[in-house]
Each structure stands twice: as structure tokens, then as C-alpha cells.
Amino acid sequence: MTVGLVHYLLLSGVLFSIGLYGVLAKRNVVVILMCVEIMLNATNVALVALSRYVVPALLTGQIFAVFVILVAAAEVAVGIAIVFAIYRKRQSVNINDFDLMKW
């Protein structure tokens, strides 16, 4: 069996679903941020694979993936900073505790 585009896209789809499941099911904010990272990396797999098989002469998808990695790093930096700030106030990283505002 040769590994082709379909396999990469399946991998990417499965990774994305695992990430999305984690985001919805996990209660720890840091774990949720990790799951978001899985989702972003799933798109990176898809981008690079699509680029390799659809337009092999160009590097569009790879360049896109580099930008995604860069932006995700910035996003997580701000995310962790906010988690620190909220932990100092509440001594908790459990998302169920952050219910000051509802409806």
C-alpha cells in the first residue's frame, strides 16, 4: 500500500476531530489550549499534504503552515498569560469555576 493524499487527509481529519472533542469534553483550561493546538496542527498536516499533491511545484501550503505555527505560538503566549491572570484571582484552572457571567 502506498501512502497517498487520502491517508494524509484522513489523518488530518482524525486529528482535528480529536482536538475538537478535547475542547468540548475537557475541563482544564491548559488542556483545552493543548487541544486547540492539535486542531491547528491538523490543519497544518492538511495544508502541507494538499500542497504536495495538488500543486507540487509550489510551496504555498508549506508557507501557509509556517504562518499558522507562528500565529499559534503568539496565541498560546497570550492564552497562558490570561490563564495566569485568572489563576491568581481564583486559584483554579477548571473551566466550570469561571461562571461569574451567564445568560
Partner: protein, 489 residues
């Protein structure tokens, strides 16, 4: 030549330079008001530089990554106006984070750079980077007060925003896979060849479009991606709430217009398909926003749900754009005019809320009792802006609604417009409830509500613009038509 093209980025570069200057100045100056002054001057400078880009032939620069066309410049002005007014109305609020004023203004300016670039993008990679530039700055700003509510708002905004951007990104990856390019104009060519039949025969394209709508829908607070809005609006610093409700939302609409009418607008069948999608979302968004707003007791939350409802009215414009499929540009120009009217109206309302809530120390509507006597400038201004949000004469809100709804009717969206008009009637209840409390409620004290001259100037500019747009809208409508006409072509 690439270096020559840098002049087209002059407004953004001016804002970035101002942001850096503000952070550095923060280290040296004792009087923090200077920082606000410098930020405001930076915004004025950027507006001046944008003026030089207005009226030229639409061109694409930096290897087709950015478009410099009237559409982009129109939004540059809109965002700069919003940023300038937010800097002005922050004057009564920044004492709450005395130590971090430099960072506050710098982040507002950087977020503005992000949304300005977003309206000009011609490439999916640039769309993503510009979107994140504005979003990440706004995550930090939402948590800026560092108290319990503000950090909670920041965290909720960040988590949901990050998920939305991952979903958006997956949609972009699929679009790229289908078409082999990230340039919006080239996507249009491939998509036209791909879709001889509608969306139902192209499942991959359908999934891509749905994911894109979900990702952008978060930004404009469309149903069912609106859940973050009330919480973030309540917890964030009020000037940032104002900024989120106008600039961030307008940026979302700008990029949806750009991506959908350029990349997915070339095939009439496809265009009608996503037009109907937006029509359904529009009806649901405005109904949900208006109905839940009826029970709100906190003014920032109320304005949050009101902004969801307004997003619903704005999406009537998107539906019109889709259904019209390029026959005319009434949907686009209606949407642009509505955005201008909504921006000045909402900023006026939020500015008044900042001063009044500062004095009474709460955001509850009940505490606004008797403000008609205590705030002789702000209470009439807030009343006027709320009247404009309902859409009564002689305000901008009326003209904007008539314009956008009549365009929709012309393209056969009568049913949607009927839903919108019923919604407008429902919305009158909760807007007028605030007005009633302010003018007929018994004041707890007769102490005047203090406000800085900067905030009063912002409120007066907004009210004046609401009035001008409501009485002599023709020149602004012509601007909107001009900006819509060259959209992406």
C-alpha cells in the same frame, strides 16, 4: 517594484510607529494624558495618509497579497474613526489601569492595524494573519482590567476565538486543496469551473464554505457562534467593548464581503446558495439577539445582545449580495452604509455608558434612574443613540435600515425583511426601557455625572454624525456605492 509599494502601507506603518512610540513614551512621561494625545495624533496621521490612497485606480500590491481599492480605503477610514473615538472615550476609563496605559493604547492601535489590513487582503494567508493580529490584541485587551470578570471575559474570548480560527483555517485548507491557490481572484476562476452545479453536488466545497462561515461568523457574532458576545462585552473594559462591537464586527463583515463576493461570487448558482445560507442565519441571529435582550438588566449585556441583533440586520445585506449574484451592488453598498451608521451610533451609546457607569459604579440599568436630571448632555445623547439603534427618524439608523431592507426586497427577500421589521418592533421595547428608566425613574441623588471634555467631544461627534447621516445621507450613500462598486475587481 516591491519597495515602491511600501507607500501603500503608509497608514498601517504610521499606526504601528505610533504604537511603538506610545510604549516607549510610557517609560518617560509622568502625565499619561500625553499618551492618549500621541495615539490620537497617530490615528489622525494615518487618516491623512489614507486620504492619499482614496480615489486611485484599484491595484493589487505585494504580489497580489493586498488590494488598494476604494473598498479597502473606505474601511480604513471607518476603523480609524472607531479607533480615534475609542481613544477619546477611554479618557474617563483609563484611571482603572493607571500603570498600563501605554500598553493599552498600543494594543488598541495594533488591533486597528490588523482590521485595516484585513479589509485590504487578497490572499487567504494574509486574511488569516491579519485576522489573528486584530484578535490576539483584543484577547489581551478584554482581560486588561485583571479583575475576576475581565479575566473571565478574556479567557472565554480567547478559547472560543482560538477554536473559531482553527475551524476557519480548516475551511481555508480545504479551499486551497480544491483550487490549488490561496489568491482570492484565482480561487474565483477555479471555483467557477468547478461549480456547474450547485453546492450540493460539491461536498468538499460545501464543507469548506460552511467552515469559513463558522470561522467568520464568530467574528461578526452570528448565530450560533454568538455565545461569547454577552459575557465578553460585560467583562471587558467598556471602551474595548465599544471597540469590539464596532471595529471587530465591521472587520468581520469586510472580510466576508471580500472573500465571498470575490472568491465564491463568480458563479451565480454558488452565490445564490450561500446567499440563502446567510438569509437563514440572519433571521435566526436577529431573533435570538432581540428576544434574549428583553430580559437583560445589565446595560453592557443589553448592548451585547443588541449588537447580535444588529449583526442579524447586517446579514440581510450579505444575503442580498449572495442572491443578487453580481447583478447590482445594492447589497454591498447597503451593508457599508449600515456599518457606518451602526459604528457611530454604537460608539456614541457606549461613550455615554462609560461616563454614567463610572459615576454610579455599576452597569445595572436600574441604577440609571433619573439620569435625565443628572447628566444633561450624556442622557439625551444616549437616548438619541438608542433611538437610532431602533431605527426611528431623524436618525442614521432609519436610513440604514430602509436602504438595506429595500435592497433585499428588490431581490425577492421579502420574507426575511418581514422578519427583520417584526424584530425591529421587538427591539423598541428594550431600548425604550432604558430611556424610560433614565427620564422617568427617580434619581437616588442629584449629583451631576462628571465627564472629561474628550469623552463629551466623542459623544457629540457621534450624535452629530448620527443626525447628519439621518437627515442628509446622500453623500455618504454615494461614498458607500463607490466603495462597493470596485469591490475586488
Amino acid at each position: 517594484m516591491l519597495l515602491d509599494e511600501i507607500r501603500f502601507l503608509a497608514p498601517e506603518l504610521a499606526l504601528l510607529a505610533t504604537a511603538l512610540a506610545v510604549v516607549l513614551l510610557d517609560l518617560f512621561v509622568k502625565r499619561k494624558k500625553v499618551l492618549a494625545g500621541v495615539s490620537f495624533l497617530g490615528v489622525l496621521l494615518a487618516a491623512g495618509l489614507s486620504m492619499m490612497l482614496w480615489g486611485g485606480e484599484p491595484i493589487s500590491v505585494f504580489y497580489d497579497v493586498l488590494w488598494i481599492d476604494p473598498f479597502a480605503v473606505f474601511f480604513k477610514f471607518l476603523f480609524l474613526a472607531a479607533a480615534g473615538l475609542v481613544v477619546l472615550c477611554s479618557q474617563d476609563y483609563v484611571s482603572k489601569f493607571e500603570k498600563f496605559q501605554g500598553e493599552y493604547y498600543a494594543l488598541v492601535l495594533i488591533a486597528t492595524v490588523g482590521v485595516m489590513l484585513l479589509a485590504a487582503t487578497a490572499d487567504l494567508i494574509a486574511v488569516y494573519v491579519a485576522l489573528e493580529l486584530s484578535s490576539i490584541s483584543l484577547y489581551a485587551l478584554a482581560a486588561f482590567l485583571k479583575d475576576e470578570k475581565s479575566t473571565e471575559a478574556g479567557l472565554k474570548y480567547l478559547l472560543l476565538g482560538a477554536i473559531a480560527s482553527a475551524v476557519l483555517l480548516y475551511g481555508m485548507a480545504l479551499t486551497f486543496g480544491l483550487t490549488g491557490t490561496t489568491k482570492l481572484a484565482s480561487i474565483a476562476q477555479t471555483v467557477t469551473a468547478l461549480t456547474t452545479s450547485g453546492l450540493a453536488q460539491n461536498p468538499a466545497l460545501l464543507v469548506a464554505i460552511v467552515l469559513l462561515v463558522a470561522g467568520f461568523g464568530f467574528k461578526i457574532a452570528s448565530f450560533p457562534f454568538h455565545m461569547w458576545v454577552p459575557d465578553v462585552y460585560e467583562g471587558a473594559p467598556t471602551p474595548i467593548t465599544a471597540y469590539l462591537s464596532v471595529a471587530s464586527k465591521a472587520a468581520g463583515f469586510a472580510i466576508i464581503l471580500r472573500v465571498f463576493s470575490v472568491a465564491f461570487g463568480s458563479s451565480a448558482l454558488l452565490s445564490t446558495n450561500w446567499g440563502i445560507l446567510f438569509a437563514v442565519l440572519s433571521a435566526l441571529t436577529m431573533t435570538i439577539g432581540n428576544v434574549i435582550a428583553l430580559w437583560q438588566r445589565n446595560i453592557k449585556r443589553l448592548l451585547g445582545y443588541s449588537s447580535i441583533a444588529q449583526a442579524g440586520y447586517l446579514m440581510v445585506g450579505l444575503a442580498t449580495v449572495g442572491i443578487a449574484a453580481g447583478i447590482d451592488k445594492l447589497g454591498q453598498s447597503g451593508l457599508l452604509f449600515f456599518l457606518v451608521s451602526y459604528t457611530v451610533t454604537n460608539l456614541g451609546a457606549f461613550s455615554a455608558v462609560i461616563a454614567i457607569s463610572n459615576k454610579v459604579g455599576s452597569d445595572l440599568i436600574d441604577d440609571y434612574a433619573g439620569m435625565g436630571k443628572r447628566a444633561p448632555v450624556l442622557a439625551p445623547a444616549l437616548t438619541f443613540c438608542l433611538v437610532s439603534l431602533i431605527g426611528l427618524p431623524p436618525t442614521a439608523g432609519l436610513i440604514a435600515k430602509v436602504y438595506i431592507f429595500s435592497a433585499a426586497v428588490q431581490h425577492g427577500l421579502l420574507g426575511l425583511v418581514i422578519v427583520a421589521v417584526i424584530n425591529t418592533c421587538i427591539s423598541a421595547y428594550y431600548y425604550l426601557k432604558v430611556v424610560k428608566v433614565m427620564w422617568l425613574g427617580a434619581p437616588v441623588s442629584l449629583e451631576r455625572v462628571p465627564s472629561s471634555w474628550a469623552l463629551r467631544a466623542a459623544v457629540l461627534v457621534c450624535c452629530l454624525l448620527v443626525l447628519v447621516l439621518g437627515i442628509v445621507p446622500s453623500s455618504f450613500i454615494r461614498l458607500a456605492e463607490l466603495a462597493a462598486w470596485t469591490l475586488g475587481f
